[in-house]
Symmetry: C2
Subunit: 361 residues, 2 copies
């Protein structure tokens, strides 16, 4: 078993990575403080893994909360169902919430934990590649608003993250690919060596080779843990982790939550960011091609959907959380394996990218 | 002008108390960091004071968000209206929210600030006595759930608290009294000298004598600031500030939010706590009488409404945030001017209090 640490002082916590961790009560139990536990999962993951987790937690007689599956349910209304369940069961403020599922479950259970009775502890058990390499680590929690993704939320760090790589066996192909988008992201923002490794091992990853997946998860988590430890609340550096996300969120919001997977939006968004970097002279055409090729090999989109116009995309991008004083701030590659945050992109260049990087455009 | 400090390290902030502070841009302006400001108020306070605050904030071209007035609107749904307004106006994550109003506005604007784009700064401008002496200080924010009061929320400290005592001139009598409930509370939990002062000055307070009110506000804020600085997240000591609240919240929830003012519930709750203390031998009958008399002189209820049975009240008390492992924890006076937190009250004694302390029971 690999153990990484997210080094946040008194909010420091471990990430455990291995096969078969769902049954390991020795990892879960030390993270539980009070006398109550509630497991939050969804209608897809519940039938697969809930029983095993409940067995480990049996001494606590855990409460189950089963949410509908999909980004379109990551709302305040569905969040309120969690509160209703917890209150109906008289859960007190030492209750530990356990998030069992992908990014949506983790974000919502984490936000429920951040706000139930003004804050209770929680544990992340991510079961999708995307949640394992990205959303379960770092304490970003929240829900969507019809006008913008992840616009309502809190920073709330988990007690631990338990990554059972066996759960990837049940993951649909498109969700595996969506997770690879975030994996590729770590290569692009600051880890060229990892980017090259991904070029060499993409076939093994798609074939779900356990060793390749475990390595990709570990390296991604290590990269993420380093950034989060340096800048927990995204005062600066952490914004780099949003490479591709400003474009991607605009696509996700534009086509309607649940129609594109988050990772698919990020994949297209990274290619759009690369295209814009090329126009700025920050990336060689052959590097853009390398990025697009890797994204395509991961079976991910490299373009925004035709159904969204460049004007719509630009409008949707303006509600991004990185906007300051009306100015859009973008994360863009500057050389392969390095990215920067910039507020100085000429509007015309951005519009060119938005126009050109649409499907069959 | 009096200035108190809430001493919370890097989250330290000032409380300003004086007449005429609404016009003082020199207090407000240094607390604003970004380029956007949104003032959140309600339909009652807005017509009275919003224009003056907007004038001070004119350089920021502030956004107005006007909520319906009343505890029954302190919900996730109404909170979402705030998010919609902020997103429609493209407010970024450096936006400062200004809470202009009573406890409901302060709690909701504060919780909106805690969760909008995962946290933005906010300023409290409390306009009711209750908000000035209690809810605007200490960073407790949140909304109600049909199953329990203040069950969803966050700790989020303001940048400053600006208390303009002139705003009390427009306060209805019952709201003035409601605020006095929290004032009396400070006397009971640890400030006997203040309790005696209140006995001597209750008539002046009810006559809205400016000097008496200013002194009561200042002393209450000083008492509260001391407790909050020692225990920001209510690990122990801070729970004392909940004297009367477990009973009071049960009444408020039981009769339906908005039917009893929060301070009215707290007033009856303190008398019920005193009754229970007497049964435990912790309070002399004559001290219970002193408490009841002061509460009655403040024109506040000393009993729960007849419409709620003791069983209903007991049931509603069990969702209190101080419950741990199924055990009710109560704040009770132990000698006049001192209170303790206890989990060891015999259920039969509690039921006696709940039965006896109902109107005309």
């Amino acid at each position: 078993m690999k153990t990484l640490q997210v080094d946040l002082g008194d909010r420091r916590y471990p990430i455990f990575i291995d096969a078969g961790l769902l049954n390991r009560s020795d990892l879960l139990v030390p993270c539980i403080q009070g006398s109550r536990v509630a497991v939050i999962t969804n209608t897809t993951v519940g039938p697969l893994y809930l029983e095993r987790v409940l067995q480990v937690l049996a001494p606590w007689n855990p409460i189950k909360v089963i949410l509908p599956d999909g980004e379109q349910f990551k709302t305040l209304e569905v969040l309120n169902q969690v509160f209703t369940a917890l209150l109906t069961e008289r859960c007190d403020r030492k209750t530990t919430l356990v998030a069992l599922g992908g990014g949506v479950v983790g974000d919502m259970a984490g936000f429920a934990a951040a706000t139930y009775q003004r804050g209770v502890p929680f544990i992340q058990i991510p079961t999708t590649l995307l949640a394992q390499v990205d959303s379960s680590v770092g304490g970003k929690t929240g829900v969507n608003h019809p006008l913008g993704k992840n616009m309502i939320g809190a920073f709330h760090q988990p007690q631990c993250v338990i990554i059972d790589t066996d759960t990837l066996a049940s993951l649909p192909d498109n969700e595996l690919s969506a997770g690879l988008a975030e994996v590729i992201k770590y290569g692009l923002i600051g880890d060229l060596e990892f980017f090259s490794w991904l070029e060499q091992n993409m076939d093994a990853l798609l074939a779900r080779d356990p060793q390749a997946l475990a390595y990709a998860i570990e390296r991604s988590c290590a990269d993420k843990a380093r950034v989060v430890a340096a800048d927990e609340r995204e005062a600066g550096l952490r914004a780099l982790l949003n490479l591709g996300h400003t474009f991607g969120h605009a696509i996700e919001t534009g086509v309607g939550y649940g129609n594109w997977l988050h990772g698919e939006g990020v994949a297209a968004g990274m290619c759009m960011a690369a295209d814009l970097s090329r126009r700025l002279g920050w990336l060689k055409p052959e590097d853009v091609t390398r990025i697009q090729t890797l994204v395509r090999r991961a079976r991910l989109p490299t373009h925004a959907p035709k159904s969204l116009s460049s004007t719509q995309l630009r409008e949707l991008m303006s509600v991004d959380k990185k906007v300051e004083a009306g100015k859009l701030r973008l994360v863009l590659p500057k050389g392969l394996g390095q990215s920067v945050i910039t507020a100085d992109v000429q509007p015309a260049l951005l519009l060119e990218t938005l126009e050109q990087c649409r499907e069959s455009a």
